[in-house]
Subunit: 423 residues, 2 copies
Amino acid sequence: MNYKKQKNSVEIICIGSELLLGNILNSNARWIAEELAALALPHYRQMVLGDNIDRLKSAILEASERCEILITTGGLGPTQDDITTISIASAFNSKLKERKDILLDIKNKLGFNGNIAENNYKQALLPIDAEILPNKNGTAPGMIWSPKENFTIITFPGVPSELKQMWTDSALPWLKRNKNSESILLSKTLRFTGIRESNLAEKLDILLQSKNPTIAPYASLGEVKLRITAKANSKEEANNLISPMILKILETTKSKCFSVNNESLPEVIINLLQRRCESISIAESCSGGLLGSSLTSVVGASSVFLGGIISYSNKLKTNLLGVPVKLIENNGAVSQSVAEAMAIGIRNETSSDWSIAITGIAGPTGGSSEKPIGLVYISIIGPKNFVDTKPYKFNPRRSRQEIQRLSVLKALDEFRLFLLATS
Amino acid sequence: MNYKKQKNSVEIICIGSELLLGNILNSNARWIAEELAALALPHYRQMVLGDNIDRLKSAILEASERCEILITTGGLGPTQDDITTISIASAFNSKLKERKDILLDIKNKLGFNGNIAENNYKQALLPIDAEILPNKNGTAPGMIWSPKENFTIITFPGVPSELKQMWTDSALPWLKRNKNSESILLSKTLRFTGIRESNLAEKLDILLQSKNPTIAPYASLGEVKLRITAKANSKEEANNLISPMILKILETTKSKCFSVNNESLPEVIINLLQRRCESISIAESCSGGLLGSSLTSVVGASSVFLGGIISYSNKLKTNLLGVPVKLIENNGAVSQSVAEAMAIGIRNETSSDWSIAITGIAGPTGGSSEKPIGLVYISIIGPKNFVDTKPYKFNPRRSRQEIQRLSVLKALDEFRLFLLATS
């Protein structure tokens, strides 16, 4: 069968035996596919191949007959099974040339004065007329190379963080410059918590059938995203399609939506507190540091987050947070009164405006019929004698880590709703 | 290029435009690939195609030249964009025939007495000599069909739960019956930190060329995994191939390997402490709770982890950890002496056997020429006056979250090495 190459058509080859062995999910293919969709570039085929030069060469040559742009991921590392560059060069009978600037960059990154590992030299070899695709975060650069007319190969390493950075820094500008399509796709992502995907879909029933913009829901643990994508001739036109749709969605979903801008819940909280010039401290038991870690992963957290106590043992609850021994003895460490005492204790200690405390049973052991696995108390204390302490019951069949994550999400979302209510 | 078909070789085609748009992860391909690996069936290529008959036909015909078994997922539903069966039939010029038993099954499942939707009739059409692959949980059956010698197609719907059930009930027994491979594959995963993938590969140079077992390295942030896979006639025989290889690797890599059993570093630490009946507490500044969260994500952490303080503000370092104000004023919060004072403070407070403190600059702001972003002090205090405090310099171009994660990994690994040294 013969293909007529479609203008700007793109294929992806993900390279790595770990994909063929089912060791890892192909998240790179998905991420790139999303980016291609946002650029409105036609994308009709993805392939996965292992670390085998002959099979890879063959797949590359096939793709070169069908598409104008081939994107590869993986196989750029320093080890013997990294065979992407050599396979590509060999497919088009090109020699490889050592690039001094790549070598220098590798030396700098590895912090060596003297000799770098033999293996790393391999990463400095590219086809003679290939353009280097720099890799800020790793030693494996990629390339942009057009070995024949109407066919360009762009290579990326398999490490997702490196791939994404290189895409944004270099490949995306190159694609926009060279493969400009007439229409554009523009997306906005709304994020929700406290509502199931099926309930959200039911509420939005008719809206989900919209053709332009389209609305696609994605669910993950404790969260649902809606991606609204408009196809238009300009960014302004696309925005004019998207904005009324967002308003309609918010009319139905109200405060269940915590961001219309793809921010994470901790980012939303830090931003809200910064705007209010208010500070927060935390006391964690079953979440063991995850609440603090979530908040402090946000750039600028230090302007509002004062700190916290991981009072895993009861002794720490008493000594550091001032939770009375009697209270723990009478009600248990997982109780409404202890949660509240923890929140009061850390707020007094830090003089923060707000405090959040979490205590519960994350499992897989430690549950009882009275206090089952998944029972979590969250207490929030704030200005003007604000106190709110409530129990939550998460599915006990969930893993320890899932119950910890859901507890933190719930605490942050409850806090967000109180901040909105008192703004 | 011509392929000689390898005996029992399998390819996978996943069909659905939602995959090409990046709307969903291709978890089906991974799942099937894992199953194929467990059956020791050779699997060299996966493809993803959209809902387009011509392109799909073409990919199916190509695959029929390369492999003996083609597995497809998706495109069996009742809607117009479900085109898998018709594409396959058309590729091999076969007519479709309505199957009465499928129709009956669909009627039963939909609970209709009378007429079923026009669309559902489509699902009852299969090539004349194809065998039905029943679908207990949905209306879309698959098929097992050999349109030519040495080539069989097995089709599945895209819904993961239906696919898995059909695999287990029908496809797996068929594969075992018809494509019985004598051998099995067995894997063990070794995990390393404190060594780069390229250095590890150089150290293991000759071992990496081993054919059975094979050794495959995978790198992620701050960590390298080696997966050792043996092909053998029995589990025992496979273990006899793997065990000496692990010993050889450990001879070379020594303590850089933190697990021979695919455990995470926090799991290793918790297990070590449990065996020693020793406890730990922590004080975190720049890592903001991530060290605590890593440790408490492990089942059973509460038996050894007492708790900690996230002393994000200097006031908390002084009030809760007893770090002298003068010390912070003179040396800065990011300094060797403050790190040590934090570790001493939390150990005194909790009476734990060990304590770890982390203070540093995670960025993206707050660095200076003297104390750049990425500078992190880690202090470990333990029994018998054990004290170790050292600075580490992480790449300042890394993101805040990466520096936080690398700091925690480094702290846990240093601690592991001290535990090993004093055991």
